[in-house]
């Protein structure tokens, strides 16, 4: 498979350079020779039917898959020139730079404040006023501050699903990552909450590289700059979102986006 490249009209710095990535869960071959470059400070969407490997791919980008017994990876992922799977590199260091938001909102059963302050506290931040500032800033960035500033001490589990997911985004931003990985962040949310998150992504891409996995093609079309289409563990096509949705090169991409399977 030849590396998929993006025809660029603009000067882009690359965030991730993925080369010949293969991965396995036990004997199941989940990713088959994926190569792509993900640009910095853009929203890159990965679409495809369920089981196509899109979640596996994104979970390789911050090595969260290391936690799954029997998971194995081959090939290269470079983040700004640094090999992420360098044995000398502590995966924790990777995760501090590359944050992740999951499919189901998963706030800790703690207060809203403690959820957001969790990451900074792990990094040794104890200064109360600094923590206050980080919490406020992160909640503002996640467009949640106005809704929760009066009840920071209340349990995060009392929030609505959409609020919980934005809290999870705020919690991730509080660590100060450069990249946000979002694994189907809206699949458990209603359309209004989804719209809020998509709006938020527009804002976030000004300062963060965003990688968005979604099974919702409209969402990819609305919210992303670049789109990759995956099928059965392979990256079929990767291009500007506008091009993928109007003039796909590959017939399988076309079949998928026009809804003939998936």
């Amino acid at each position: 498979m030849t590396p998929a490249t993006v025809e660029t009209q603009e000067e882009l710095t690359q965030a991730f350079a993925i080369q010949g990535l293969n991965s396995w869960y036990g004997s199941f071959h989940a990713l088959k020779g994926v190569s792509m470059t993900i640009p910095e400070k853009r929203v890159t969407a990965i679409i495809g039917p369920s089981g196509c490997g899109k979640s596996t791919l994104i979970r390789c980008l911050n090595r969260i898959n290391d936690l799954i017994p029997g998971f194995r990876v081959e090939g290269q992922i470079a983040f700004k020139g640094q090999n992420l799977y360098d044995p000398a590199l502590d995966p924790i260091q990777v995760r501090l730079q590359i944050g992740m938001v999951f499919q189901k909102p998963n706030p800790f059963p703690k207060s809203i404040y403690d959820n957001v302050a969790f990451g900074p506290r792990l990094c040794g931040e104890k200064d109360r006023s600094k923590l206050d500032a980080i919490v406020e800033e992160s909640l503002r960035k996640a467009a949640l501050w106005g809704e929760v500033k009066e009840k920071l001490k209340q349990s995060a589990l009392a929030l609505s699903g959409g609020q919980q997911q934005r809290l999870c985004i705020a919690r991730t931003l509080a660590v100060g990552p450069e990249v946000l990985l979002l694994d189907e962040p809206c699949s458990a949310l209603d359309p209004i909450a989804t719209a809020k998150i998509e709006e938020l992504l527009m804002d976030l891409k000004k300062s963060y590289t965003v990688v968005l996995v979604t099974h919702n093609m409209q969402q990819a079309a609305r919210a992303s700059d670049y789109t990759g289409f995956m099928l059965l563990g392979e990256l079929v096509e990767f291009a500007l979102t506008a091009k993928i949705f109007t003039n796909p090169t590959n017939s399988r991409t076309e079949a998928y986006i026009t809804g003939r399977f998936g």
């Binding site: 969260i64 017994p69 924790i92 800790f108 792990l122």
Partner: protein, 302 residues
């Protein structure tokens, strides 16, 4: 149409009713047991308090119902119970919790599958055996390090009791931690938490009510444990918190009186029920709290 459906023969209907009545009786036996325990304890305890004022039972600092100069202060027995149980918990809590975190968050399925049943053997060994071990192995061992320690003391049975309840804490806490959803662990690790930080920062707090339930159950078990303390703690009611001295627990007192032939109706006979009542109430409160916490936990992650 309904006409064509054969009616059930009436005999079968009676049989069904009979069976249901018998089964209901079986289920009711457990309720009768509780009523029986409460009734018996209450009856004899009321008899006891006709002769001994409640105030002196609660405040007198001596317990000498078997002497000619009789005193009926529960404090020395309560103190002995508290002391041995506290020592047991001091041993079992850290060991049990460390083990639980290790098995739940670090060990693979195979290691957990081997270690858990072996640990549970500890809970299955009869308590007389632990009494033997405390008196004849642990006490002599401790006496080498603590000169002047009495042959009967609170420390040795306390420690051994602690070892006995380790699996209670480790198993139940591990079950609680295991029930914490995996996505919370992923969330913590995605925020850059190490395994240890995930375990103590997220998993333990999330499983807190389950862990607390196991802890309360262990305390209740330590308070009610009888043979270890009856054998190795001595049978001298003494108001002391010095673990090197002999003490007597509430349970050991009941055994002590039962070994002699105490006729019904005497004040000595009534004392064991009064002491039993105190013991029952203490463990009941702990068990109810523990049960409530466990229900809350399984509601959260059931």
């Amino acid at each position: 149409m309904t006409e064509t459906i054969r009616k059930r023969p009436p005999r079968r209907k009676t049989q069904e009713r009979l069976v249901q009545a018998v089964l209901f009786f079986c289920a009711a036996v457990s309720v009768f047991t509780t009523l029986g325990i409460v009734g018996v304890l209450l009856f004899e305890t009321i008899e006891f308090f006709r002769e001994v004022p409640l105030w002196s039972f609660l405040t007198d600092t001596q317990w000498t119902p078997l002497f000619s100069d009789k005193h009926f202060g529960i404090l020395p027995l309560a103190c002995g119970t508290f002391l041995t149980a506290a020592i047991a918990i001091a041993v079992a809590m850290p060991v049990g919790l460390l083990t639980a975190v290790f098995l739940s968050e670090y060990a693979g399925d195979r290691l957990r599958g081997t270690v858990k049943p072996v640990l549970e053997i500890l809970a299955g060994i009869p308590t007389v055996v632990y009494g033997y071990f405390a008196l004849l192995f642990v006490t002599p061992l401790l006496q080498r390090f603590i000169p002047g320690m009495a042959g009967f003391n609170a420390l040795s049975p306390g420690i051994v009791m602690g070892i006995m309840i380790i699996p209670m804490i480790s198993s139940l806490s591990e079950d609680a931690m295991y029930a914490v959803p995996q996505n919370l662990r992923e969330a913590a690790q995605a925020l850059g938490a190490s395994r240890l930080q995930t375990a103590f920062g997220v998993v333990v707090p999330s499983a807190f009510s389950g862990i607390a339930a196991s802890f309360l159950l262990a305390v209740s078990r330590a308070i009610g444990e009888t043979m270890i303390v009856a054998i190795a703690a001595g049978q001298q009611p003494r108001l002391t918190l010095d673990p090197t001295h002999p003490v007597e627990t509430m349970t050991a007192y009941i055994v002590q009186v039962s070994l002699g032939d105490t006729p019904t109706g005497t004040i000595e006979y009534k004392t064991i029920f009064a002491v039993g009542m105190a013991l029952f109430l203490a463990t009941l409160v702990l068990n109810l709290l523990s049960h409530g916490l466990r229900e809350r936990f399984s509601e959260k992650y059931g």
